[in-house]
Each structure stands twice: as structure tokens, then as C-alpha cells.
Symmetry: C2
Subunit: 438 residues, 2 copies
């Protein structure tokens, strides 16, 4: 519950600034979120372009270089912001290292946020981005949470599209229909002042990286050595193998920042993730509180298909956004919307289901499993796409998820196909944004 | 409660590695915390030295340049680590920007931790560090939590001392007795792979920065414009003005990482801190849970002196470390130890007190205040040192802390003097580590 005073503290600074003296306004500048009258706004139309003179070769699709996830395309886009001037003109320039002072805010106080989206080469030969407006809007929300300056999401969209248009033709050629590049908009506090304070200087940048197709590599059964590490049992199930988080490791909490795509949500999960991998699992299933509320799987949202006990109806269930402890995934939203639209009634031999955002616990899953009501589970996110879950290891027990047809269940497969069709231009859909090529 | 299985997951990798094949060991390397047999350990004795050819001038003590907190001394120490080789030879070299790839782990996943300590110029002419062993041990704990590699804390101590010895004579000259430089050991994940995973490359570095004396600047009453912003009331109290955190903003939680000095603990507090400053307060007093447990003040530990209701005895109280939601401050530990040793009995007209680490709530403070039992409050940390607290704003009400003698209460003043005497060499003490000068 917010007291009237607490609500007052959320009043945007721009509203109160008009009541203040010039000194007062200057004092408040670093507390505001950009777009102040008199400060330049982010403006993609001002972008300057310096092309590379040392173009690099494009790695093989899904080859070793792509799997290393270190290779970016020839160019990147950067845009610098200062509290004094606002946004400088963005620059398209050769990809290369950033020069960052050892005192920079991002290196000490994690003043950083990012986005992840993919550039798809369609089967119709066109390049597409998927719901880019959602990523750019979320980037603004994340920036606000981590005290980085404000910008118009539409301008970030233009910068992303400009980079994709520049490097798409060479790095994702028409022969690679059904393939993608990974786009990573990143925003960091570059203020060189060591004090713990809102950065007065920041850098927004966009890079395009060669990525492996992780939805496939992870659905592959773990190698024998790793299966052995997981309780010595053979790997009988396909799909992702999840291990429930330990009670002493919590990913996010109400009043925190689990809903925002901040670096601070990822680094602190790496120890648990490393332990999970060393034990032969693919990802951690993040639980919350003593009740073991199920929240996210790795860095993806988590869905289950369960037959409701009393009504006997099928439900597609995922954790709700209300507590702000999970990320509002673009894939998550798309799954929910598509299933509401296309699966409410059932079709072509596929039973209809109800789409439900609600809290559910590991006990709910265990009970559903014991009673034969647990139908499917999958993780959904940009990097891993729609990844079938085959097993959940929870407090010493393996919950093997029934998969109806080989590698993934029917709902997982249908949802994945629908999304693939939109992403790769088999279906004309407003979510698939065509990118022109230079 | 940990299940046996959960405990198993904490087993150090080095213990299980011997059971594995070579392939298994290689797989597990990125999950381990350095110091693996066959990988080089951090070794200060291997340090190479390249001195600057463009020495800079030293800013005025507490002047504008120092207040900007952007100026570092002529040199820095860096040490690179890779999962393949371990620690490379540390380098003493000219201070300057780092070249960091746009995909570096630290810029996306906040794989970063740091320490803060001061180099003091004693009244006896000598340079001293204060309990440097504690900072280096904590840095190792922080690194472990954020999936950065392990090192021997003693080696980090040597690197810090080497830098202080190199730049101390010029940047903190003998004329500046009673002054200090701020030392910032920093550890970042520099792995260029974009995947969410333990960094396979990292950089440890140590810098020395010119800092203002914040314990004084913050104890000064806020300027008139800012006093006006805080409920329009004149600033009648001296000392820090704290505002209790809102119910929708929580700094740390059990199962998280509030005990470690990670960037991820700082960036997410900047919005609340900026709002506090805009309203005329110095820092946020971080509360936890519905009970409003009092945890930290800004980025410092928080202490109160209260007369216990039933016994009538004075108590020095600070939040306990048991839940791992607060930082185990070096200053915090020193205050506790000194007071246990020197104030249990009372001395020289100062009433004795009991030292207590326990949970306490805002309601406890309000009740003590109403009943005339609230004696003093102060924040304790390296950056702000011992800073008297004058006011706590909580849910629309001001709790003015009685201060017995002008700027700070007697306990705050006595504790500060004891520490100053050790830091600046007025008292010979094992906590004051003398640094030789080059």
C-alpha cells in the first residue's frame, strides 16, 4: 500500500521543476529521466555513418564461431547522453571495443540494461524483426528502473532497424532462409564519477551478433558424462532438463527489479546456473518463497499445460506479472495472445485450452503429475525461443514431463510453428516487421 | 532448510573433479572458482611495472576536482584471468581507459564486484591502510557470489599496497596529514561471449582516486532550497537527513546478495536515492518487509544508541548479519569491536553501553523516541565514515534524533575519534597497516 507521501515521491520531476529556481532545476537534472526541455532528445534522423574499411568474413551458420557467441557484424550504432546536453547524434560506425574509464558507473554500480531480439531471414527472402516495439518500450522501462536516461522508444527502433538494414544483407544472406542474427541493444552508465549516484553520462549501443540456434542444441539430450552427473540416471526424456532453485537462492522479489531487463538480474544467477550445468541440467527453475511459487526457467518465462482438477479442462498456465518479479517477455506475451485467439475452441484434432496467468507452486505441479493431469511444459524467450521441458528436478525427485509426441508436446509444437511462421514470413502478421536492406 | 541434495550442490568443484574424465574437467572449468590445479594463481610477485611518461598534477584537497570524484592517480594495477590459463602476471601501468568489447559480460550481466578503502596520511607522516585484510577477504566472497574467479586475498593486498606505495608520496604528500585517497579494487567479467554464463575471462584492477571528505560535507545542513523541498520545514537538526524507503522498493532480501559488494546492489538503489535527494534528504534508510526492519542507511551500515526499556541500560544496536541482507562493513565490525572493548564499563563521564546485533523496526525507533529513550544514530561506512544522523523521515513524520552536543552525539563523536586516531597514526594499533613509500 502506498501512503499519500509515497505516491508523491513518484511525481515526475518535470512536473515539479517548473516551481523551482534555475539552481533548483540544475540540482534536479541528474534525478530526472532525460527529455528535459532544453536537452536534446534521442533522434535517429541525426545519425552519422562511418563504414568499416576492414570488413570481416561471415561465420558458418551454427558453426563453432557462432556457438562461441563472440562474433558481431561489421558495424554498431552508438548514442551518447550527458546530463548537460542530453542526447548526442547517434553514430553508425565500425564494430569495435569501447573505451571505458576504470571509474565508469557501469563497472561499479551495474547501471546497465539491455534487450534481446532476433533478425530473421524469411523463407520469402525478406528480413524481419519480431514485435520490436515491445523490446524498445521495455528498454525504456528498464532504463528508468536503473537510473539511466529516458528516450523515445520509436527512435531506438529506428537505430536497430538502421543497423539491421546495414549489415543484414551480408551477415544474414538470402541463402540463409530460416536463420537469424541476435540483436542486443545495450545501455550503460559511463559517468566517470565514482560516487554512488545517478550517472550523468551514458552510452546506448546496438550490436548484431552471430548466435547458434539454442532452441535446438538444448533440446538435444545431454552428453553421457553429464547425464551421469545427474543422479546417475540415464537421460530418458527429451527437452530441457530443469532443476528447481535452492531455498537459499532467490532470483527476484517484490520491491526489487525482476521485471526489468537489468544486468543485476543475470549475474547473480550464474553460480546457481553453473552448478545446475555441472550436475547435468540445462537451466534453473526459479522458485519463490516458502510456498515454492514457480516463476521463470533460466532467463526465460515458463509455461505449463495442465488439466484442471475440477473442470477437467486444459489450461495453459504461466506466472502473472502482478508482483513484478518476472520479466514481461515478448515471446511470453505472444504465446498468451496467440493461444487466446487460436486455441480457445480447439482445432484440427487439438483440444482447446484456457489461457491463465496465475501463481502456481511446485506442489501444484507435483499433484498434477501424480494425478496424470500434467500435460506439457515449455520455456519461452527470445534466446531459447520455445523450448520443450522434459524434466524438473525438485528436492531430490525427478518430475518427468509427459511429452506426447517425441521431442515436444503438441501445444509446444503448434505454438512454435505459429511463431516461426510469423518470424520467417510464412504468415503475414503485424508482429513481423519487414526490414529493408541497403 | 537444505536437503542433502542441496548441500551436495555446494561441494567445491575441486573435490569432485578428480573423479571425472579430462572432458568432464574441461566442462566444469567455467563453473569453478579459479585456483584449479594447472591454472596459474594470482601472484603479486610476478607484477610488471610500466611507469607513466605523462604524470598529472595533484588536485587541491577537498577542492572542486576532488569533489567531482573523477580524478585518479598516475597509475593503476590490473590482472587478467582466463578460464584456460588462470591468472596472468599483474601489471602496474599508467592510469587510463580500459578497452572493453561491447559484448563483455560486465556490460550485460553485471558480473562485477568492488571494494572501497582509504589510504590515510597520518599525523606522524606515515601512510596507512585500515584493516585491508578484511576488504580483500570480502572481495573474494563477493567474487564468488557473482561467478568471478577465486584468488588469494593476500595477493590482492599486495597489489593494493604496491599501488599505494607507488602513488602515495606524490598524491597524498606529507603536508596533507589527516587527508586520504580512496582506493577502489574492482573485478569485472570481460568474457566477450554474449551467452548468459560464468565469464571465462575477467579483469581485476585497483585504482586510487581523489575523493572529498564526505563525512564533513554531508553533516553540513542542506542548502535552503533543499530544506524547502523537505516538507517546507526549516532544517533544525544537524547530521544526515534520512528518508525511510518506500514499501515498493526493497534493497536486498534473504536468498539474494545484499551481503556482497556487487554492483547489482547499488545501481537499483539510485532512483530511490535520487528521489530522496530531490526532496532534501541525504540518504535512504532501507527498510525490509512489512515489519519495517531497519537495515542500512544509503550504502552504509546503520547504528542507534537506545536506552533499553526494562533494564534502563544503554544499548548500541545495529542489524545482524544472519539473514545476509546487509553488508558486513569493515567500519561496522570495527565500531562493534571497539565499543565492546572500551565502552562496556563506561569511562571518563561517558555512560557504558551494551553492544547488540539484533533486528529492530521503525516502530521500535518511534517508540523509543516518544519515550525519550532514543539517544543517538549514525551511519558507518568507508566512504561516509561515521556520519551522525539528525533526522529520519518515516511515512510522513519526522523523527528528529536528539543530539547531545551540537553536531553529533557523544558516542558518535567518541567512536569517530578512536577510529581517526588509528587511521591517522595517533594510536598504534594492529588495524592501521603502515605502507612504505617508493
Amino acid at each position: 500500500m502506498l501512503t499519500p507521501e509515497s505516491s508523491g515521491a513518484t511525481t515526475p520531476v518535470t512536473t515539479t521543476a517548473s516551481k523551482l529556481t534555475k539552481a533548483g532545476i540544475e540540482h534536479m537534472l541528474p534525478n530526472s529521466n532525460g527529455n528535459i526541455p532544453g536537452l536534446a532528445a534521442l533522434d535517429a534522423s541525426k545519425m552519422t555513418t562511418t563504414l568499416t574499411t576492414t570488413p570481416r568474413s561471415v561465420p558458418e551458420w551454427n558453426g563453432a564461431e557462432a556457438r562461441a557467441q563472440k562474433t558481431c557484424t561489421d558495424h554498431m550504432v552508438t548514442a551518447r547522453w550527458t546530463a548537460e546536453e542530453g542526447w548526442e547524434a547517434p553514430e553508425m560506425k565500425p564494430y569495435g571495443p569501447l573505451s571505458i574509464l576504470p571509474t565508469a558507473s557501469v563497472l561499479h554500480y551495474a547501471t546497465e540494461c539491455f534487450e534481446g531480439l532476433k533478425l530473421y531471414r524469411g523463407y520469402d527472402g525478406q528480413l524481419r524483426l519480431f514485435r520490436i516495439n515491445r523490446n524498445c518500450a521495455r528498454m525504456r522501462t528498464s532504463a528508468e528502473r536503473i537510473a539511466l536516461p529516458d528516450f523515445e522508444p520509436k527512435e531506438l527502433e529506428k537505430l536497430i532497424i538502421a543497423l539491421c538494414a546495414r549489415d543484414g544483407r551480408k551477415w544474414l544472406p538470402k541463402e540463409r532462409a530460416g536463420c537469424f542474427l541476435y540483436c542486443r541493444p545495450t545501455f550503460i552508465g559511463t559517468d566517470a564519477a565514482l560516487g554512488v549516484q545517478r550517472p550523468r553520462e551514458a552510452l546506448l549501443y546496438v550490436i548484431l551478433s552471430c548466435f547458434p540456434d539454442m532452441s535446438k542444441s538444448l533440446a538435444t539430450p545431454a552428453p553421457p558424462a553429464m547425464t551421469g552427473a545427474a543422479n546417475g540416471k540415464p537421460n530418458t526424456s527429451s527437452g530441457l532438463r530443469l532443476i528447481a532453485s535452492r531455498e537459499d537462492t532467490i532470483r527476484a522479489w517484490p520491491g526489487g527489479f525482476g521485471y526489468a531487463k537489468l544486468g543485476a538480474n543475470y549475474g547473480p544467477t550464474l553460480v546457481a546456473q553453473g552448478e545446475a550445468k555441472a550436475r547435468g541440467f540445462d537451466q534453473v527453475l526459479w522458485l519463490y518463497e516458502k510456498e515454492n511459487w514457480v516463476t521463470e526457467a533460466g532467463a526465460s518465462n515458463f509455461f505449463v499445460v495442465i488439466r484442471e482438477k475440477t473442470s477437467g479442462k486444459l489450461q495453459l498456465i504461466t506466472a502473472p506479472l502482478t508482483e513484478r518479479i518476472i520479466l514481461e517477455g515478448v515471446t511470453r506475451a505472444s504465446v498468451l495472445e496467440l493461444c487466446k485467439e487460436r486455441l480457445a475452441e480447439g482445432r484440427e484434432g487439438v483440444e482447446g485450452l484456457e489461457v491463465v496467468e496465475k501463481r502456481f507452486t511446485m506442489d501444484d505441479l507435483v499433484a498434477a503429475h501424480e494425478e496424470g493431469r500434467f500435460v506439457e511444459a515449455f520455456a519461452a524467450g527470445t534466446a531459447f525461443f520455445i523450448a520443450s521441458v522434459g524434466l524438473i528436478h525438485f528436492r531430490g525427485k525427478d518430475l518427468v514431463v509427459p511429452t506426447m509426441e517425441g521431442e515436444s508436446g503438441i501445444y509446444t509444437r503448434v505454438i512454435k510453428e505459429w511463431l516461426v511462421d510469423i518470424m520467417y514470413g510464412r504468415e503475414e502478421h503485424e508482429w513481423g516487421v519487414v526490414v529493408g536492406e541497403e
